[in-house]
């Protein structure tokens, strides 16, 4: 065995080790959350649903470099698909509802990807904003299907596997959410390390060079958008199943902007960053808005400015850079 293969196996071992640590950390955080806030599992389930949205945003923004302020369109499509399936078609099995969310999210991802990828820079941002407003107005207008501004109610999912009922305490929903998040996280770890994931990173760095190598950036990005839509759809469906109502706010510009804020807060281009950012932002928002509802927007704004000034790589990115710096110094 020559030194190069030794180095690669060592690196592989280390990344697999990091994956295991990540999975362990998610399970541990979920258990701690359950023990700390047994009365507030609804909030924790919502955090998981939003974490799925932020992970999906990370796929296109962090790994492909597409700036978008309209990502809730994919999340809301998934939520409405799961809700409409339950409320209008009587498909109340939670797994089938999730499947409906995934499918519809992926379709919304395809549509948004085709439109958003036509421009770059500011026009791209504006396209994404226009799309989210278009989806919002459409859902508002199609009130016979979506309930309009009253929200879509009448969603009552069956017990999971026919045994675990979605009760008032939200325990089933919480465990269901944690399992979904773990499954998505493991799949995404494989995805971002696959040759396809590498191709997307390459497109972010230098699309011209990728084209010269014979790959098509556009097709790769649209594929990534569809995958991202599926992930966001899982989050939307989870939200619909756990709250049993879908509101217009799941398709709102505010939701999109907040998810981008959470992503950048945690650190783009890393799945751990997306998770960290969501948890920190949601807990911060919950705590501050309860402690001082008048000032919470100011504090969120100040937090954002502080992150840009002092931790430009995001919380997780800065911490990770610090740790690797220390490790390298020691060796």
């Amino acid at each position: 065995m020559n030194t190069e293969t030794v180095a690669t196996t060592a690196r592989q071992n280390r990344t697999i080790g990091r994956d295991l640590i990540g999975i362990g950390a998610i399970i541990a955080a979920a258990a701690i959350g359950y023990l700390l806030f047994p009365d507030n599992l609804a909030l924790l389930t919502r955090i998981i649903a939003i974490a799925l949205l932020v992970l999906s945003l990370d796929l296109v923004t962090g790994y492909c470099g597409v700036a978008t302020l309209g990502h809730a369109a994919l999340f809301g499509s998934g939520a409405y698909a799961a809700g409409i399936a339950a409320a209008h078609y009587g498909i109340t099995d939670p797994l089938l509802m999730t499947l409906a969310g995934i499918l519809c999210g992926a379709i919304a991802g395809l549509v948004c990807g085709l439109i958003i990828l036509r421009a770059h820079g500011l026009p791209q941002l504006v396209l994404s904003i226009s799309l989210i407003y278009l989806f919002h107005e459409f859902a508002n207008k199609a009130s016979s299907w979506t309930g309009g501004s009253d929200g879509l109610s009448g969603i009552s999912p069956d017990p999971l596997f026919g045994r675990f009922e979605f009760d008032l305490w939200g325990q089933t929903a919480y465990v269901f959410g944690v399992v979904l998040l773990l499954a998505v996280f493991i799949l995404l770890r494989f995805l971002v390390r696959s040759p396809f994931g590498m191709l997307c990173r390459g497109i972010k760095e230098d699309p011209l060079r990728i084209m010269a190598m014979g790959a098509s950036p556009k097709i790769a990005l649209i594929k990534m958008y569809v995958i991202s839509g599926a992930v966001a759809g899982v989050g939307g469906a989870l939200n619909a199943i756990s709250t049993q109502v879908v509101g217009l706010d799941s398709l709102s510009f505010t939701q999109s902007a907040e998810s981008l804020v959470m992503l950048v807060l945690g650190g783009t281009g890393s799945l751990f960053g997306a998770l960290t950012g969501t948890v920190v932002f949601m807990l911060f928002e919950d705590y501050v808005s309860a402690a001082n509802p008048f000032h919470w927007l100011t504090m969120v704004g100040a937090l954002l400015i502080a992150v840009v000034l002092f931790a430009p790589k995001g919380l997780y990115g800065t911490a990770a850079a610090f740790v690797t710096g220390r490790l390298e110094k020691r060796t």
């Binding site: 439109i115 950048v264 927007l297 400015i305």
Partner: protein
């Protein structure tokens, strides 16, 4: 015919207000390449100062407008020095995050200081009522907005095309490093154009207070509209911004008159169509 005429006048006035507010954003975006989501917040500050000056201090309309413009510029100077300086040349995502943060802070502070209610800027008697054009009468305030918009467009055109400052500004927009090497003090150009942009935003905020009511979430609600106008017109282009304002103002107003139940559906549909056909904006240049 009646409907057509009133739609046309309203659309023209609305487009002009949009133009006055967003032209500053267009210039700073073309010059400094900053995606400034806090521009609407400056327009909101202008509206608040004017409302405060006119209602609580009892100043006249003209004095209130002047105070609003200068007050907003004064407020913006430390923000530019301390915060914006650090994001020039940063990635777009960083700029978006920073300016959203500034917007949130301003909204929170405005909510705290002035409360969540709508504020009005009382119009002087000369601008109330309607003017008779012989075949139709239109609201004087609409006429005033249109005249102000045209005056701003003309003055900017003159300043940018005919004066020495305009030459330096255009040079810095095209190539800031080269302009600096030739002896243009680019930081002064940046500071002056930022101040002008903020001042125009404040002026537009006061001018448009009848059409875009001043309240704390103003900054977030209309920010998107201003960004859309700039991007459809092409950053840094005055004719482009003018055209975009008239087209989008027309579409938005027509949609509201004829199909109010659809809200802004057609506005955003038009925006998507225009950007898909002209990815760099109506008057954008290839880079």
């Amino acid at each position: 015919m009646q409907t057509f005429f009133s739609i046309a006048i309203d659309a023209f006035a609305y487009g002009m207000v949009l133009f006055v507010i967003s032209i500053g954003l267009s210039i700073t975006m073309g010059l400094m390449r900053v995606v400034n989501l806090a521009h609407g917040a400056f327009a909101m500050i202008g509206g608040y100062i004017a409302s405060f000056a006119a209602q609580d201090l009892g100043l006249g309309y003209a004095a209130a407008v002047l105070l609003a413009v200068f007050g907003t510029v004064v407020i913006s100077i430390p923000i530019e020095r301390l915060l914006y300086r650090r994001i020039y040349g940063a990635p777009e995502l960083t700029q978006v995050l920073m300016t959203i943060g500034i917007t949130f802070c301003i909204i929170g502070i405005a909510n705290y200081v002035f409360g969540p209610t709508l504020k009005t800027v009382p119009l002087p008697p000369a601008l109330q009522g309607s003017a008779d054009l012989g075949f139709r009468s239109i609201a004087v305030h609409r006429l005033f907005a249109i005249v102000c918009g045209l005056a701003v467009a003309g003055a900017l055109w003159y300043a940018i095309e005919k004066t020495a400052f305009g030459v330096k500004l255009r040079a810095s927009v095209d190539n800031a490093a080269m302009a600096a090497a030739l002896g243009v003090r680019t930081e002064i150009i940046y500071a002056v154009s930022f101040a002008v942009a903020v001042g125009l935003a404040a002026f537009g905020g006061v001018l448009g207070a009848e059409l875009l009511p001043v309240e704390p979430y103003y900054a977030l609600r209309y920010m998107v509209t201003f960004l859309v106008v700039v991007s459809v017109g092409g950053a840094g282009s005055i004719p482009g911004a003018l055209l975009a304002c008239l087209v989008l103002g027309g579409i938005d107003t027509t949609g509201r008159y004829l199909m109010p139940e659809f809200g802004e559906f057609f506005f955003y549909l038009a925006v998507i169509a225009i950007i898909c056909i002209f990815p760099r904006g109506l008057a954008g240049r290839a880079r």
